[in-house]
């Protein structure tokens, strides 16, 4: 429980996450007011994905906070679990606020799950810029293209169907936990 509280404390005090969240919400509102045709969340989801990536990748940025974290919480799988719970609790209201501003409330769970996928990739890649490139290309370009061109794939894509979104989130978080467990934290 302490670990979860610590992780929440880290997430809600990180300036880069505050900046990402407020920029995302501001842009969502702006696009809604402009009356952009189509789904607004389709575009501003990018900000939420960046949020997810930063939530895990920030530990590996200059300063190497991950070493302090591991010193305090040496059991790595427990740490991964605490981080996942903390991120879900923090991501839900952010995703919810974005969905409300975009007028697409039912999308909240799907978007929250996509943030967990982004966090998994961020934790595996450990390089924020590279992880952002991968996650955004996947969600904003590859997924819509595949869904449009190969309709049969829509059931399996992380951003189109409900069960698939859940499976992708669980799979990415599990992969990230495995990497955290077995890989040297310094490399």
């Amino acid at each position: 429980m302490n670990a979860v509280r610590a992780e929440i404390g880290k997430l809600v005090t990180l300036p880069s996450l505050w900046i990402t969240a407020s920029l995302t919400l501001a842009v969502t509102l702006l696009l809604r007011v402009l009356g952009l045709p189509g789904s607004v969340l389709l575009h501003t989801q990018a900000g939420l994905l960046v949020f997810g990536v930063l939530a895990t990748a920030h530990e590996y940025q200059g300063g190497g906070q991950i070493r302090t974290t591991l010193l305090a919480t040496p059991r790595r799988l427990a740490l991964a679990a605490a981080k996942t719970v903390a991120l879900t609790l923090v991501a839900l209201p952010v995703a919810g606020a974005a969905a409300v501003l975009a007028g697409e409330v039912p999308a909240t769970p799907r978007v929250t799950l996509s943030m967990l996928v982004a966090a998994g990739v961020g934790g595996i890649v450990r390089q924020a810029v590279a992880a952002v490139g991968i996650v955004l290309t996947a969600y904003l370009i590859v997924v819509p293209l595949l869904a449009a061109r190969v309709p049969a794939s829509a059931r399996w894509l992380p951003d189109t169907a409900w069960p698939a979104a859940f499976v992708w989130a669980v799979a990415m978080v599990a992969a990230w936990a495995t990497v955290l467990r077995h890989r040297d934290a310094n490399t």
Partner: protein, 249 residues
């Protein structure tokens, strides 16, 4: 010249740059294959306004690679070199070696343009050859001038990403902005539905250099498109150069 060589080696030594290189090279040909069925149907139904566009249209997705290259050229300099030394960045070393900042920026831009132009040329050739292979004469090969214009567009997008990252000094912001804008339903394209002026945003106007049948509210000739695009890139590079010259590194 030695500065350009050094910048080339630095750029090609970055793992993320290779992500950009490979993504740029492979995305467009992959899209040709993915789009093959839809393209055939579109030609058969006669809903394509300009058939000669089809070969070049799929190239657009590959500029993602050029964007990533433009971003990492700068963002790698500002990243902390090690976890133990969060204040130490490669830029300090770079500026010690090449103290004249304008010269450094020019060398970086030259190295980036070279890499991106080679990437663009290879991708354009591969994409057009693959299109010919899959559709035969149903999709006529575009005139060489248009292919050159496409490679030019490709290079300018790389420079645009470079300039924006220099201004923002943050790879994540620039990359997010650029990728959101190259999504399937591009953000600038949607803005053209709100105001016709959005057709002059760099990514939309630049595409007019080599595509004919773009659905926007204003008519833009390829030459105008080239001029406006160059103006965007030159303007942003000038701002970036001024800031880089004036700000503390």
């Amino acid at each position: 010249m030695s500065a350009v060589r050094a910048e080339l080696r630095k750029l090609l030594g970055l793992p993320t740059a290779w992500v950009g290189l490979l993504l740029g090279l492979l995305a467009a040909p992959a899209l040709v294959i993915l789009n093959a069925g839809a393209t055939r149907r579109a030609i058969a139904d006669g809903i394509v306004s300009d058939v000669s566009d089809l070969g070049l249209q799929n190239l657009g997705i590959g500029v993602l690679g050029a964007m990533i290259l433009g971003v990492v050229t700068v963002s790698s300099e500002y990243t902390a070199t090690g976890e133990d030394s969060p204040g130490a960045r490669q830029l300090t070393t770079t500026l010690t070696a090449v103290p004249r900042r304008t010269r450094l920026l020019a060398a970086k831009a030259a190295a980036l343009s070279l890499v991106v132009a080679v990437q663009g040329t290879l991708t354009a050739i591969a994409t057009l050859a693959l299109t010919r292979q899959m559709h035969g004469t149903a999709v006529p090969s575009p005139e060489p001038v248009r292919v050159v214009a496409a490679v030019l567009y490709w290079t300018m997008i790389g420079l645009l990403a470079y300039a924006i990252t220099l201004i923002a000094r943050n790879g994540i912001i620039t990359l997010t902005l650029l990728i959101v804008n190259s999504a399937v339903v591009s953000f600038s394209y949607l803005l053209t539905k709100v105001t016709p002026l959005a057709a002059y945003l760099p990514d939309i106007v630049g595409a007019h250099m080599f595509l004919r049948g773009i659905d926007v509210p204003v008519r833009i000739t390829p030459v105008t498109a080239g001029v406006v695009m160059t103006a965007w890139v030159a303007g942003l590079l000038a701002v970036a150069g001024y800031l880089f010259h004036r700000r503390d590194a």
